[in-house]
């Protein structure tokens, strides 16, 4: 009676490893507890002890083999006196996890997981403000059901001048000034979406959307489910989120984790002008409610935006803004810029940081983050919002669940201080993440 010896797992999350060395050879007697081989992952080496007794009849995986999936038969053990035929053993049941894992031999798992942005060809410099306006105008031209609703969006051209020119082009039926009545106009837009229109709701800031959060969650996010799939809600809620400059605590809050918590919503947070245009077009086309978190400070920043008429970015895909090998820095919205500044400082100090621009928070592109951390073995998440139950907490947990064994240091969070945002310029600066906070966090890990 022969027994197969299987590739063991070093940890619950290990899916494959290298068979580093055989300590027994064919014909050797094996006693229970004998060390028969050494297994390596990029994190650890483990000795494989025999459970059963017998004679090592056949070695199925030679030493030095990489990417051996957990539970793959690696050797055959024969009972004392038994002869083992030379025929190959029955194929093992496929291990589903191992099958999905990238081969360790593949040189760059990051490249496979996070395909670089499609090349959209020529670009033109635009501000985030212009990119957002163009995205709305393009989608409004393409679909007569799309309309913009909010305070000051029409006659005044937007409190932050995002909707410049839209009233002139589309008229008051499709660019609608609302009274200051967030809860009702939000519910009204949700009702319109349920009945066949495709509203874009502009909140003057997301701080004011707290007045309307009941309709956003209880009506927009939940009705499709509660109605058994009858009533969808294709709607975009957009506006500036997070801190601006010296506007005080009630106008300076990041709502990313609030909305990202809720099934039924998608949550998007652009950083660059290209992000703004490509993601807003995707959000308007999406048949689900999308929370689109802009940032007031970014509105005036200029970036290169593809001029291709079909340019759009997928919701749920992150972008590696800067490649690196020593640490993964994950950020979204304005903090992408802060993270890139930190990466430059780190580069001067000999630390190669990879910076991921999340773009979407729900769905979160866990695949890209995990692939990066498997390469760098270190994670620092950066957000402007508060730490408790924040986006960084979720990202850290995703890493713990998905690639704990690849970590060389505990994941770290950089975040806004756990206080309402102060008004005074010096205090405000002390409360919001700066590049050196990120640099210091990274240096504790490398």
């Amino acid at each position: 009676m022969s027994t197969q010896i299987l590739m063991p797992a070093l940890s619950p999350t290990m899916t494959e490893g290298k068979l580093a060395k055989w300590l027994k050879k064919v014909g050797d007697d094996v006693r229970s507890g004998d060390v028969i081989a050494e297994i390596e992952t990029d994190k650890a080496t483990m000795e494989v002890e025999a459970v059963d007794e017998g004679k090592l009849a056949k070695i199925l995986v030679e030493e030095g083999a990489e990417g051996v999936a957990v539970n793959t038969p690696i050797a055959v053990l024969a009972s004392d006196g038994e002869t083992v035929s030379a025929q190959p053993p029955a194929a093992p049941a496929p291990a589903p996890i191992a099958a999905a894992a990238p081969l360790a031999a593949a040189p760059a798992p990051v490249a496979a997981a996070a395909a670089p942005d499609k090349d959209w060809g020529p670009t033109t410099p635009q501000t985030v403000r212009e990119a957002l306006r163009d995205a709305m105008a393009l989608e409004m031209r393409a679909d007569d059901r799309v309309f913009l609703l909010g305070e000051e969006v029409a006659q005044y051209q937007g409190a932050y001048k995002i909707s410049q020119g839209l009233l002139d082009e589309f008229g008051p039926r499709r660019v609608i000034d609302s009274p200051i009545t967030e809860h009702a106009f939000t519910g009204m837009a949700v009702g319109a979406a349920m009945n066949g229109l495709r509203p874009i709701v502009e909140f003057m800031t997301f701080n004011f959307a707290m007045q309307a959060i009941d309709q956003i969650i209880n009506s927009a996010a939940k009705t499709l489910y509660m109605s058994g799939g009858q009533m969808g809600c294709p709607i975009v809620f957009r506006g500036p989120n997070g801190a601006a400059s010296r506007v005080g605590a009630q106008h300076s809050q990041c709502y990313a984790s609030w909305y990202a918590h809720c099934p039924g919503l998608k949550v998007v947070a652009p950083w660059s002008a290209a992000d703004a245009k490509g993601l807003l077009r995707a959000a308007i086309r999406d048949p689900n409610p999308v929370i689109f978190l802009e940032n007031e400070i970014l509105y005036g920043q200029t970036g290169d935006v593809p001029t291709d008429a079909d340019f759009v970015l997928p919701i749920g895909k992150a972008k590696i803004e800067r490649a690196g090998t020593d640490v993964t820095i994950v950020a979204f919205s304005i903090m992408v810029g802060t993270a890139l500044k930190a990466a430059e400082i780190l580069a001067e100090q000999g630390v190669s940081a990879e910076v991921i621009n999340l773009r979407s928070l729900r769905p979160l592109d866990t695949e890209t983050i995990v692939a990066s951390v498997k390469k760098t073995s270190r994670l620092v998440s950066v957000e402007e919002g508060w730490p408790f139950a924040g986006i960084g907490a979720e990202i850290t947990m995703q890493i713990v669940e998905n690639c704990f064994d690849w970590l060389d240091a505990p994941p770290a969070r950089v975040h806004g201080l756990d206080v309402p945002l102060p008004y005074a310029a010096n205090l405000e600066k002390l409360a919001l993440p700066q590049p050196d906070w990120i640099v210091n966090a990274v240096k504790k890990l490398v």
């Binding site: 009204m188 319109a192 009705t223 509660m226 109605s227 969808g232 099934p263």
Partner: protein, 321 residues
């Protein structure tokens, strides 16, 4: 407004269906057969039916947590409703909504709503859609006296008037917001509030199907003809508690018994049409019998229906595309 015999029979049949449906849900709930929270509409039937008989397939309604009557009056399938309340796979929402979230958009019923005051803004959206797409449809928000105190309601009054939306706000004032008396909790009057927004409003006796029907007819005509929003304030009564299980300690001794005896909208209707010679008592008796049988059948179907399959647990969170 003179209704023909068919319309009168339909009105009675609908009111009887609501009454029997609610009485039966009450019984089944007491027997432990219904898994969740229910709020019954018995006693208020004339309102839902008087309003909805003025509506057609273009029109939308938004309901409340006390939504069964509105559903039936707008044409929702009784078997599907009973199945939903039992949490079964044959429910209108596949058992994923329950009593407080029954919806059938194909009938223009945008849903009961577990949030007091949740409906008025949504119905303004239905009205905006009708106006934008020029469907000719109108939209009705049912609400209780409790919801009339919510900011969303008054914000919706303002938006409906500011944008001249084809909306009818129907305040179903049964005297109690849960257990809180509307006699002290509603400042001013419903008519005065509407007047403050420049919205035409009328108060009607919720007992009287005909008064409600006429008020709704006028409001619907106004809305369809571009005249903007209206408000109807119905004073009516509920026979059961705020929810099933409510001991109703806040109600006067003998109050409900007196209402059932002297202020019942079905008895009122029967008396009115038979005394006027519009319908025969026997015709109404026949409806009573057939409706009873239909409700019995709906309960049998609901009890016999399968539970929702577990694979539905994770569907309908997002529209895939």
């Amino acid at each position: 407004m003179q209704l023909n015999r068919e319309q009168l029979l339909a009105a009675y049949r609908m009111m009887r269906t609501i009454r029997d449906f609610e009485d039966r849900v009450h019984t089944e709930f007491s027997a432990g057969g219904i898994p969740g929270f229910v709020h019954l509409y018995a006693g208020e039937e004339a309102s839902a039916v008087g309003i909805c008989m003025n509506l057609d397939e273009r029109d939308k309604i938004a309901s409340t947590h006390r939504g069964h009557g509105h559903c039936i009056a707008k044409g929702c399938d009784v078997d599907g409703m009973m199945g939903e309340i039992f949490g079964k796979s044959n429910g209108l929402c596949g058992g994923k909504g329950g009593s407080m979230h029954i919806a059938d958009l194909s009938k223009g019923m945008m849903g009961a709503n577990g949030i007091v005051g949740g409906g008025p803004p949504l119905i303004c959206g239905a009205a905006l859609t009708a106006k934008t797409l020029k469907t000719g449809g109108v939209a009705v928000a049912f609400m209780g006296d409790g919801a009339s105190n919510q900011g969303t309601t008054m914000e919706s009054f303002n938006l409906a008037k500011a944008w001249n939306l084809p909306v009818i706000f129907v305040v179903e004032d049964n005297g109690y917001a849960e257990s809180t008396g509307s006699n002290w909790s509603v400042s001013g009057t419903q008519l005065g509030r509407a007047a403050g927004f420049g919205i035409p409003a009328v108060q009607v006796d919720g007992l009287d199907f005909f008064a409600i029907y006429d008020a709704a007819h006028e409001a619907v005509e106004r809305a369809r003809n571009g005249g903007g929003p209206s408000l109807i304030h119905g004073k009516l009564n509920r026979y059961y508690g705020h929810f099933e299980g409510d001991a109703m300690t806040y109600r006067g001794e003998g109050e409900v018994e007196m209402l059932r005896r002297d202020h019942d909208p079905l008895n009122f209707f029967r008396k009115r049409v038979t005394e006027a010679g519009l319908l025969e008592a026997a015709q109404l008796d026949e409806i009573d019998a057939t409706v009873q049988a239909e409700i019995d059948a709906s309960v049998v179907k609901a009890k016999g229906a399968a539970m929702p399959v577990a694979s539905k647990l994770l569907t309908d969170v997002y529209v895939s595309y």
